[in-house]
Symmetry: C2
Subunit: 233 residues, 2 copies
């Protein structure tokens, strides 16, 4: 029989935030780092060890809340990351030593991606985190651990699942215009779409319903407002 297994399990959340100016990802700054040369502080995805009595989805919700005060975010598991050396980089050791009982322990993590409208959610650092920011996706620098890979895979997953999973609506205000919805698709998929064809497709989505309400206060023809109605088929 092999030596007794001893490792940690964490969740990491890749939370995308959207407003008209682009797609962002939620990062936290490692707190309380000694600022010696080789421990330049790096940002990381919000993540932490799961507790002994909670499920994975539940852990993702809790951890995200504890680190960023974000609550009720749609989070979906997308992949487990288990390279035996994923937390062994020297640059990450100092920080681990400051927060873990067993900083040398191997950590396997389960990745979640999530989606919020930047208008509806205001993240705030909790006592556990040194700072929370939304970073423009294209401007994310080197992150701690293997978090750049996790982020990359989350982006791919988001693109793949945007259409099938009804997740776009998590990124928009409750009431939205079709132009907003289209802009979101264009940003996430990173390509331009034709307005008329896009609207034809939306007409087929029975879960996108027009409200008895129009945009106000705009200096152009006011747009019809829509909302998302999940339905039990």
């Amino acid at each position: 029989m092999p030596a007794t297994q001893s490792l940690h399990l964490s969740v990491d959340c890749v939370v995308f935030g959207y407003n008209d100016s682009g797609l962002k990802v939620l990062l936290i700054n490692q707190k309380g780092l000694s600022t010696s040369p080789e421990t330049t502080p790096r940002s990381q995805l919000p993540g932490d060890l799961i507790l002994m009595n909670e499920g994975l989805d539940q852990a993702a919700q809790r951890v995200l809340f504890e680190l960023t005060q974000l609550e009720g975010v749609y989070l979906k598991q997308f992949k487990a990351f288990g390279d035996p050396n994923r937390v062994k980089d020297l640059k990450d050791r100092a920080w681990l030593q400051s927060v873990r009982h067993l900083p040398d322990q191997r950590v396997v993590t389960v990745g979640y991606y999530g989606l919020v409208s930047l208008q509806d959610y205001e993240p705030r650092p909790s006592s556990f985190a040194g700072g929370v920011q939304w970073s423009e996706l294209s401007e994310v620098g080197p992150l701690a651990f293997d978090h750049n890979s996790i982020l990359d895979e989350a982006v791919e997953t988001l693109q793949d699942q945007l259409e099938s999973q009804h997740i776009s609506f998590e990124l928009l205000p409750k009431k939205f215009t079709l132009t907003q919805l289209q802009a979101l698709y264009e940003i996430v998929l990173d390509k331009k779409l034709d307005k008329r064809n896009f609207r034809k497709n939306v007409k087929k989505m029975t879960h996108v319903v027009p409200l008895d309400e129009k945009q106000t206060g705009v200096m152009h023809k006011p747009a019809q407002l829509f909302s998302y109605e999940p339905q039990k088929d």
Copy 2:
């Protein structure tokens, strides 16, 4: 700070096997069970704890080999299962006590699905397992732990990814006919396909290449043989 985390991590493999008679899944029988009434032996997916110095994909390969002697199988991670009570069912306790140092420990598992041609692979029980069989998918009874859910999710994943992931070819002999390929699609997707349209689609798949070889020994027009050539685009 929370109590120190202490849990186990395993991998479970859902290996599908295919031949002309249908789609099967590889199960092992729990070995050495005391046969008291409430511990009726149940079958389970091949799975075990990961080792401290191996990655997840690597663990899946090793565990499958150790339990079934199957080697070099295409295995793809599809989901982590982490319900805190997934190994707490009374029916599973007896067996866990016989194989684990810490039978009460929580176990999170990472699910892999795999694909083999029944003609190319002959599973044999290793010393660790009490028996290995291929079970017709529709005839799988109650499995240990949450393995029925894991199996169900694997089937869905297989259907979703059959076309995009080039995985069909893992289920066929190295040299195959288009009729075989079509039969496979029909069984996995569980619907009939049109022969001519199917062949039109295959012509577009540049990774399916005709060989200079035909079927022999059949009492009808011999079919062209094809093989799968993965390509680096």
